[in-house]
């Protein structure tokens, strides 16, 4: 009887995992599909039953997609936008969070509520006036508007404020006694302590900026200024009737790599970040 119970437990455990594995397959199947699709010639994308043997894989889609669309240009644009966006967002969020967390100044509460309330404004409302405004200052069809973190700044300030709130005041006062200017306190004391929060926020914003679609769609016109999502969407739109999906998939895989790589190496900070933000409510 003893052996049976052990075996039974194992069987039940495996059965329990079957639905989980099915769900996992549903989640990963599309991803696998297009990674494999990028390794096949275009005319085989839609062939059924799908030919999955590694022998039929080709690798020419990857170099070829660089010739069909200016993919390096798109990568460059997306990277520049992301770096500036994250830097500005982290800098302003931590500065603002520091001010709201550790200082007392007139109108503090009203100003904070004002910033929070801007979170309620959906970006759709701002699309038209911002478009017209960017046109007036000749920023239309440039990358500059994409670098301004106006959409996530309130959330960033809220997040950093929560975090900085728990830094002991003694540290700051000690620095003041030693003659530090306020900005030096920010730079030398607050920033280093905030590294985990900054990392989490930075990853979140970086991925968000890399994948952003609607705002760049409105602002950008010429192909040489496209960010990756816009460039690939355009490529799909132009070539979807042709049997060249292998190239499209190759482009998609390449564009999805940076967030995945960043995430794989830094995922502890990311999950920590969501926990930091949500539990303290």
């Amino acid at each position: 009887m003893f052996k049976n119970t052990q075996k039974n437990k194992l069987i039940l455990l495996s059965l329990y995992h079957v639905p989980i594995i099915i769900i996992a397959m549903v989640v990963i199947a599309p991803i696998l599909w297009f990674v494999i699709g990028s390794l096949k010639p275009g005319y085989e994308t839609f062939s059924l039953p799908p030919n999955l043997s590694p022998k039929s894989f080709i690798y020419t889609n990857y170099p070829e997609v660089f010739q069909r669309i200016p993919l390096q240009r798109y990568f460059l644009n997306s990277t520049v936008v992301m770096v500036v966006y994250v830097f500005l967002a982290l800098f302003l969020s931590s500065l603002g969070g520091f001010a709201f967390a550790k200082y007392n100044f007139p109108l503090q509460n009203i100003l904070f509520i004002f910033i929070l309330s801007t979170m309620m404004v959906p970006i759709h409302v701002l699309l038209v006036p911002l478009y017209l405004l960017m046109d007036k200052i000749h920023w239309l069809d440039t990358l500059y508007p994409l670098m301004i973190p106006f959409d996530r700044l309130p959330m960033g300030i809220f997040f950093m404020r929560q975090f900085i709130f728990f830094i002991p005041l003694e540290l700051i006062d000690a620095a003041r006694i030693d003659g530090c200017s306020e900005f030096k306190i920010y730079y030398r004391i607050i920033l280093p302590i905030c590294k985990p929060a900054l990392a989490a926020l930075g990853i979140f914003l970086g991925v968000f900026s890399w994948n952003a679609f609607l705002w760049p769609l409105v602002i950008l016109n010429s192909e040489s200024n496209y960010t990756l999502p816009i460039g690939i969407a355009n490529f799909v739109y132009v070539t979807e009737q042709l049997p060249e999906w292998g190239l499209i998939f190759a482009g998609c895989v390449l564009s999805a790599l940076p967030p995945v790589i960043i995430f794989v190496f830094l995922q502890r900070y990311f999950v920590k970040g969501i926990l930091l933000g949500s539990i303290k409510g």
């Binding site: 059924l48 404004v121 759709h124 701002l126 306020e182």
Partner: protein
Amino acid sequence: MLSFKKRKIISSYLFILPTFVVMGIFVAGPLLYAIGLSLYVGRYGKNMFGLGNFFLLWQDDVFWQTFYNSIFYVCMDVFSRLMLSLSLALVLNSALTRFKTGFRALFFSPVLLSAVVAATMFKVILNYKFGFLNYILNQCGISSVNWLSDSKIVKFSVIAVEEWRWAGYTMIYFLAGLQAIPPELYEAAKIDGANRGQCFWSITLPLLRPIIILVITLSLIGTFKLFDTPWLLTRGGPGYASMPIGIFLYKNAFVFGNYEYGCAIGMTLFLIIAVVGVLQGKIMGVFKQYNV
């Protein structure tokens, strides 16, 4: 030398100054501009300002179709997201599950993909003639379904893609909440003779309440802003079947060039979100618990 107190106050204002400049130029100012534009009717007649755009909107059948679509999306999304992410989190939190970290990363991975990549993948998979999904269904004896071209089914396809993309994200919220529940509570309940179901309904769910409210709020407000997935899958088609208000706004403002009408649509969307947000907050007691 400034007094200590004055130095602190000036510094704090300087620290928040750049933020206010950015928000003023990119949010507050444009919001006022949008209100003004939405009231500008000079295009149609002699009056410069009036509610003409809003009257046009009220009579626009396409708007009401997109309004209905958006409400549909929101209801479906809130419901599905809650079910899916809570279930996934429960599974990943259970003592029975092996390879937790692996599954967690797997379920979360679609969050890292851009809407373009996700929509492109599903465009191929959901294709009527050559798509992988219909192929599998055919192998099982089910006839092909027109996932993206049937106006009755396309909205479900959009929601399915959205859930595929985001369920893993809200799952992490629930995971955090589940792990914050002290295990002693379950032990005490089991000593008192509670079974699994009672543990769930009386301990787990009440303690997850703040996160459930958060997830509902996020999905509610987020889905009203839906644009990327339906745009990339079907451009809002067939006809207007899958078009949410966001695409309707984009088309009118940037494809047809009718900026004032677009602003009116935007204002209406803002109003809808505000009303729904406040209603939801009142119903769920958000405002009672919130502490700035």
